[in-house]
């Protein structure tokens, strides 16, 4: 394991400490050291926006904390949901009197812990609404969309939800708009190499050299097929096809495109993928209004990439344009 770590059991602690030191102009740590809070939060009279999830996806989730985006983030162990208590503490930190929306991803642990946190908050009189992201196309067939995992589309949901809340919308409005944001997203991941949880010490799955895993999840969850590694062009075409076949959009629809590396894929390869991704999307008659390419939602040192396509309407476009002040700029 060629890694910069101290104690394999303290990877998350050390990460959060370094993060909060580096970005003390934007974030602070709550009393609960597993909750990162925007320096601005709570904003009186604004709906609080919260997320949380397992660590190892940096810059997600903590990197999106900041003005006009997330007010507070609950931090879990590597690839493990935060505790109900951390979600609850994040909700309290974000609460500015108008309730809190929790925008999170569809994983068993997160579902349970958010549910428990919501109950705890209700007892304290804090109104909580939730939106659960399920943009990962390959994680369940269309007729079971409610089972799909949340992946990089979450970032766009946070951006939209954070901007809507910043505009003074009500809890119900923020929830509905964030829900629309994620409903409009579809994502796909392709894995070329595994990752290792430091406390485990060896890769937790294998991808044979010369193979790739299509539809891989953000924790290495197996995809829909393993096949021979193809050219970037062919991979990009497959990715666009899987995403857009699931997301039948009328020609002329404007879309936002997010291509994220999974942690150990050099940026230049994301551009190589994007070259074809953009052409393929255009071939389907869609109009690309916004593009982000980079390591936005990773899986430790996994080799691979994800594509997220979000269909836009005027409201979403406007909200995506609202500038947020986070450590990672969208």
């Amino acid at each position: 394991m060629q890694r910069f770590i101290n104690d394999p059991d303290l990877v998350v602690e050390d990460t959060v400490k370094g993060f909060v030191k580096a970005h003390s102009d934007i974030v602070r740590l709550a009393e609960n050291p597993r909750v990162v809070v925007s320096k601005d939060a709570p904003v009186a009279g604004k709906v609080g926006v919260v997320t949380g999830g397992g660590s190892g996806h940096e810059p997600a989730f903590i990197g999106y904390t900041g003005r006009n985006m997330l007010d507070a983030v609950a931090v879990g162990e590597l690839f493990s949901s935060p505790t109900a208590k951390s979600f609850y503490d994040a909700i309290k930190e974000a609460h500015g009197g108008k309730g809190v929306v929790v925008l999170y991803g569809n994983y068993a642990g997160d579902n349970m812990n958010v549910k428990m946190a919501t109950k705890l908050a209700a007892k304290e009189g804090i109104e909580v609404a939730t939106v659960v992201a399920n943009d990962d196309v390959c994680s369940a067939p269309p007729e079971e969309r409610e089972k799909r995992r949340g992946v990089a589309g979450e970032i766009l949901m946070w951006k939209v939800g954070g901007a809507k809340a910043a505009q003074g919308a009500s809890l119900g409005e923020v929830r509905a708009t964030a829900q629309k944001a994620i409903d409009n997203c579809r994502s796909i991941g392709v894995g070329l190499g595994p990752c290792t949880l430091p406390a485990v010490g060896h890769p937790n799955f294998q991808i044979e050299p010369g193979k790739m895993e299509v539809g891989i999840g953000h924790h290495g969850e197996p995809g829909v097929r393993v096949e021979s590694l193809k050219t970037a062009d062919a991979v990009a075409k497959d990715m666009v096809k899987i995403v857009l076949d699931d997301h039948d959009l009328p020609a002329g629809t404007e879309v936002a495109v997010l291509v994220s590396g999974l942690g150990a894929t050099p940026l230049n390869e994301l551009y190589i993928l994007h070259d074809t991704i953009e052409s393929e999307i255009a071939l389907r008659g869609l109009k690309i209004a916004k593009v982000w390419i980079g390591n936005y939602f990773t899986s430790l040192e996994m080799v691979g990439a994800t594509l997220t396509v979000m269909a836009l309407d005027d409201e979403l476009k406007t909200l995506l344009d609202v500038e947020a002040r986070c450590t990672i700029i969208l």
């Binding site: 397992g54 590597l78 690839f79 505790t83 642990g109 812990n113 485990v200 937790n204 969850e221």
Partner: protein
Amino acid sequence: MQTFDNASAGSIVRSMAERIVENRAYLSEIDGKIGDGDHGVNMAKGFGMAAERLKGKDASLAQSLDTLGTVLMTEIGGSMGPLYGVMFTEFAETIEGADKIDAAAYSKMLHAGLAGIQSIGSAKVGDKTLLDTLVPAVEAFDKATADGRPFDKALEALVAAAETGRDSTINLVAKIGRASRLGERSLGVLDAGATSCAIILKELAVGAQTRLVDAVG
């Protein structure tokens, strides 16, 4: 009637933690096959922390289970934090205040834990989760006592059923959790939670068995 003493059985939880910590790599390896490979790490961290807190304290079984449940719930997160957290705190609540634990109390305890798990997760038997261990184990225990068999034999039946249940997950297609999208590819592999659950139930059962005394029924 066979019973065991609540006050002096706290060390069962510590041995349970030892077993889980010993199986850290094994449980992660199983989870890695069709999940995300962290089950052993999560479990060992939580159970290890609880054992640390219990060290040197002369806690009863009920108190020890409560400490374990609380640590899991507040410190561990993941799926296991809430699921096992609820299970152990329900276990603890049920036997709290009982001096002696008999088969009826043991059964009540198991049912409360199971209900707790079912109230927050939405898995069913056959979904390839820890319920495939827990549910048949509880049923076997109840059946044995209903058949008039003594507490120690019922515990034996429970352990056997737990292990059979655990092994049954090899032939199940995952229906819930990270592995659920694998379909056929989840066949042939144990479920991690089912495996840790069998360890837990066995350690609890063996701990009770060795402490059983015959009270005048």
